[in-house]
Symmetry: D2
Subunit: 150 residues, 4 copies
């Protein structure tokens, strides 16, 4: 109940519904661990769109430098999952994405993905432009959502 309330007051989050696929299960009977990074990347689509509005790979700006994922609970076929994605931190040239996957209300995995704002043509990182920074900020956790960081 409280959980639902919290979700309602967090419009900064991107939420993506994912229906688990048979090929994403493994022999142990649940969703394979390597699928979570794939779902988390899928959940970042609107963040990629902030960086590269037409999603054109020729002007792609995000380069991943680290992922750190805690696996908390098994995920099963048959029930939709909810991916929640937000901005955890913005630096001069890099930013961190907070993310988690829930199934039937339970947090099953949570993580942080760190990106640099990267110019693939020059092969070097660049300062995040102000317009992009302002857009990213809209999806940032504030003090009231500090619990998401734990």
């Amino acid at each position: 109940m409280l959980k639902i309330l919290i979700l309602e007051i967090t419009p900064f989050m991107f939420e993506t519904i994912i229906t688990p696929r048979v090929n994403e299960t493994d022999g142990a009977g649940h969703i394979n661990n390597t699928v979570v990074p794939i779902w988390f990347e899928a959940g970042r689509l609107e963040i990629f769109r902030i960086l590269t509005p037409d999603l054109s790979f020729a002007s792609w700006k995000a380069a991943l430098v680290n992922i750190n994922i805690d696996y908390v609970k098994q995920i099963y076929l048959g029930k939709d999952c909810l991916i929640q994605t937000w901005i955890d931190r913005i630096g001069t040239k890099s930013f961190a994405v907070g993310e988690r996957v829930l199934q039937q209300g339970d947090i099953c995995a949570k993580g942080v993905a760190t990106y640099v704002y990267y110019n693939y043509n020059k092969a070097e990182s660049e300062e995040i432009p102000l317009s992009v920074r302002n857009e990213l900020k809209k999806h940032m956790t504030g003090e009231e959502n500090r619990n998401l960081r734990e």
Copy 2:
């Protein structure tokens, strides 16, 4: 226009919305060919549920024997796709699933997947039970949708 009309009178189809993922693209810039069989399998989820209502792998009944896919048009990141899935043919021990993927109204790939009704514990095919057969029939193309078979 006609197309939209046809879709509206075909409730026998299962329709699944798929948002293409960055990891599903390949270096050629569009969705990799090997992703289409994955999306098609995802589109068969409700058919698997007819065969195995609780989707439990311990009582899984579907064994794939053939897939045949025509690739018609490139699929791109950035726009949702629609997977349409229906029953094309029902035999004594086997059935064929018709399927296609559309992006922005265009058919991008279409195929047929042939399954046998299979008892994994006995390691042999079995006759499709009448109750399953009746349920599958509800999703079968009739004469009016014969065009789907071409």
Copy 3:
């Protein structure tokens, strides 16, 4: 025995060893069906190299138009698989790749993938250049391997 002999007299084939991965299994306990198209594409790497020697996506020449795969036998984790890949047919603008996967000597799946020789910049198919055609021919089944086509 006879099988081993045939393999030894078929140097036209490309052979690729694949170690099945845990994430490639599914809840039914064996390698998921959608993995076979992925392995088959992996087995075509040297064919792609004939078409695009530096494997650069900017000058990629192969566009897939059809795959047709028969699933014959389950594939399991724990034993390496052998992918065999050859040219089945060469037309003016298209060619067909024959392929199969064996595990412990048993054919587990076999298929044909049909490609057109495609200019992605002009967005149209082109005649296969003579040099490419000659190279592809070296990997074609002859009369003595006609059994591969069945």
Copy 4:
């Protein structure tokens, strides 16, 4: 030179050769980030075999609790990769796997995966048996390989 020397005196490592696949690239032209966790899991196959000698999912013992991966350098199609996998730490009920992927001698990504020794039937973690612990220890970094941990 020094690097080659170090590799030669580290027989504790599992080394797995991986040929990058076309479907593992993404629109940005290199191997997609989500593929690295898949390759790292593939590199742990012999560790899974220590825990579950017949690799039977019915008696699977490893449950992943965390992955932490640094992405250092792009990985490209066309050249084989080397996955190096070793034991970084062994606790009472858990252990950590160190791992990295090299292409043409360069470290492209490195990470740590933390597992608990888990009884899926009882749904609880268990102490790592002495025989398993002794086997894992053979693949552990010693003082002389402390540099791997950085």
